[in-house]
């Protein structure tokens, strides 16, 4: 088994997902199969090969520090599930 049920549950918690027992077991099997396939990466010799995170060579993309057109507060809040006085509302964090 490439990934155990407990590891799936641990990673799900890190990713803020709430999996039930059946989903955890199913994902462990499916992700295990995928990771086994991913092991084909080991057939490539990558000694001294630099990693690529971006396929097009662009260095720092600077721009002038100027104010451009932007969303006003009402537009930015328009889709918020809960809002109050121009703010996003979240469940109480500090007791």
């Amino acid at each position: 088994m490439k990934i155990t049920k407990d590891e799936v549950a641990h990673v799900a918690n890190l990713a803020r997902l709430d999996l039930d027992e059946a989903a955890t077991v199913k994902f462990a099997g499916q992700i295990g199969n995928i990771l086994e396939y991913v092991d084909t990466l080991n057939r490539a010799n990558t000694d001294g090969v630099p990693p690529t995170s971006h396929a097009i060579f662009i260095t720092n993309a600077f721009r002038e520090d100027e104010v451009h057109e932007h969303l006003d507060r009402d537009a930015a809040l328009a889709n918020a599930p809960e809002k109050e006085d121009g703010n996003f509302v979240v469940p109480k964090i500090i007791g």
Binding site: N13, A55, I58
Partner: protein, 489 residues
């Protein structure tokens, strides 16, 4: 010919000569959607009211003598591209009621060109999938055979174009999501070079791979759409400040039109297990046709083809797990309001809002990036990505374009692969390397299976060499009849 069956090029001529109005054209397209949407299921939202307003505005512009190649042309847009005041769901329950307060840059450009947007089309949730079956909203059927998938993730784009429910569409391609559905639905699709088209307003899946591109009825329309959407954008720091040529200027067909062009045939691809004999034969016939048109062919090698799938299914989920962290039930989208603590609210919102494939990829990506596994998975995959880029670099020293199948087999039946994600991932083998390398790729119709399913030819080129793809695709298209065939719908 019925108005909804027109290509963009032909409709433009008729609009210009004032033989038809955009109002007539848009009404014909909306009627067509109304007639067959129940069978095809391509649309998440039909924006009939704003479409008619846009059509009337386009007619006014035309009457003043101002017409661009896209003025008054009805298009559909993949529901992952933000459209101001028009719901954009990503086919996800978590964004089911999201109404963007701004337009994506490509939408801005299209609106300035005077297009009519007839609606937002279905896709795999957050573009994760190859069949559109991962949509959290509905199932889309292949217009050539309603029991089959249209491909994915831009399945709604390809199906709506093939079924004449629009004249063209925009999709997005992270590992083949424009080319593969275009192939399965018998239409033309292009994934441009990474950085050619702005991603501002494209909901992010895997930011180093995602690219917006056109889905069209023929190569000419594809070039017209590319002209309209390409170019540098200050709002996308990964877009590239490079002049955009007029892509329609490379559409020139004549005998020996491909003389001087060298096409590369990857030796690894013919040995791919699971390559359907009908696909193989259609693609071989296409290669022969292209040689008859004057092109030379050379065998090339892309030795890391097999590892490309593995590298992709580490890199794409890793980036996705990070990008999708933003769906927390606070700023927009669905929220489970019953939960009292913040962490519980996050978890229950995300678990109820995301479908199984999205959750699977978030877990796979989080795992690949987690402490202790990062070197073995994410870093290793990123090194293999370098090797894949070097393979292409070497190949393009001896050829101008690479020819291959798009998908290993024609469209499969709805439900056939849903329980086997790895099997579904493996079907992306021919397309995802282009995303890893950031190079452009295109699908053009090149045949039909014995039971009438479309087959596509993939043409891949070097960075920013879209013009060569257009040249090869156009000459092939003009010498063949595949793009003229219509569905029975």
């Amino acid at each position: 010919m019925k108005l909804h069956e027109l290509t963009i090029g032909k409709a433009h001529e008729l609009l210009k000569q004032k033989e038809i109005s955009s109002r007539d054209l848009t009404m014909a397209v909306l009627d067509r959607i109304n007639d067959i949407e129940e069978k095809v299921g391509a649309f998440i939202t039909v924006s009939d009211k704003t479409a008619m307003e846009q059509a009337e505005a386009a007619d006014k512009t035309i009457s003043k003598g101002n017409i661009s190649p896209l003025t008054g042309i009805p298009l559909s847009i993949k529901d992952i591209i933000c459209t101001k005041n028009l719901r954009t769901t990503c086919a996800s329950r978590i964004l089911e009621n999201f109404v963007p307060p701004y337009d994506a840059t490509v939408i801005n450009k299209l609106k300035r060109a005077g297009v009519v947007i007839v609606g937002k089309v279905n896709m795999d949730e957050f573009a994760m999938g190859s069949s559109t079956e991962n949509s959290g909203i509905k199932i889309t059927h292949n217009p050539w055979d309603l029991t089959r998938i249209p491909g994915g993730s831009s399945g709604g784009s390809a199906a709506s174009v093939a079924a004449d429910m629009c004249l063209g569409s925009l999709g997005s391609d992270t590992g083949g999501s424009i080319r593969q559905p275009a192939s399965h639905c018998g239409v033309v699709g292009m994934k441009p070079t990474y950085g050619r088209v702005s991603r501002f307003g494209l909901v992010a899946f895997a930011s180093s791979l995602d690219q917006i591109g056109p889905v069209a009825k023929d190569v000419t329309d594809c070039a017209v759409l590319m002209n309209a959407i390409s170019g540098y954008d200050l709002k996308d720091s990964t877009s590239v400040p490079k002049d955009v040529p007029d892509y329609t200027s490379f559409l020139d067909f004549f005998e020996d039109g491909l003389k001087g062009v060298t096409v590369g045939i990857p030796s690894e691809y013919s040995a791919t297990s699971g390559l359907d004999p009908e696909v193989s034969s259609a693609v071989n016939n296409a290669i022969n046709k292209i040689k008859e048109l004057g092109a030379q062919s050379v065998e090339i090698s892309l030795p890391h083809t097999k590892q490309a799938v593995a590298a992709y299914y580490v890199i794409a989920p890793s980036e996705a797990s990070s990008n999708l962290a933003r769906y927390d039930g606070v700023k927009y989208g669905f929220r489970d309001k019953d939960k009292k603590s913040l962490i519980e609210m996050y978890k229950s919102t995300r678990s109820a809002g995301f479908g199984p494939e999205v959750q699977r990829r978030i877990i796979l990506g989080t795992y690949s990036l987690s402490s202790g596994y990062y070197d073995a998975y994410y870093k290793k995959a990123s090194q293999v990505r370098t090797l894949i880029m070097e393979d292409f670099k070497k190949a393009f020293k001896t050829c101008d374009v690479i020819l291959s199948p798009v998908a290993p087999a024609p469209a499969f039946r709805i439900g056939e692969k849903t329980d086997d994600p790895l099997n579904m991932y493996l079907s992306d083998i021919f397309t995802l390397s282009a995303n890893l390398a950031g190079i452009p790729g295109m699908s053009v119709p090149c045949g039909f299976s014995a039971n009438g399913l479309p087959i596509g030819l993939q043409i891949i080129g070097n960075h920013f060499n879209e013009k060569m793809l257009f040249k090869v695709a156009y000459n092939f298209e003009q010498a063949t009849e595949f793009h003229k065939k219509k569905t029975n719908l």
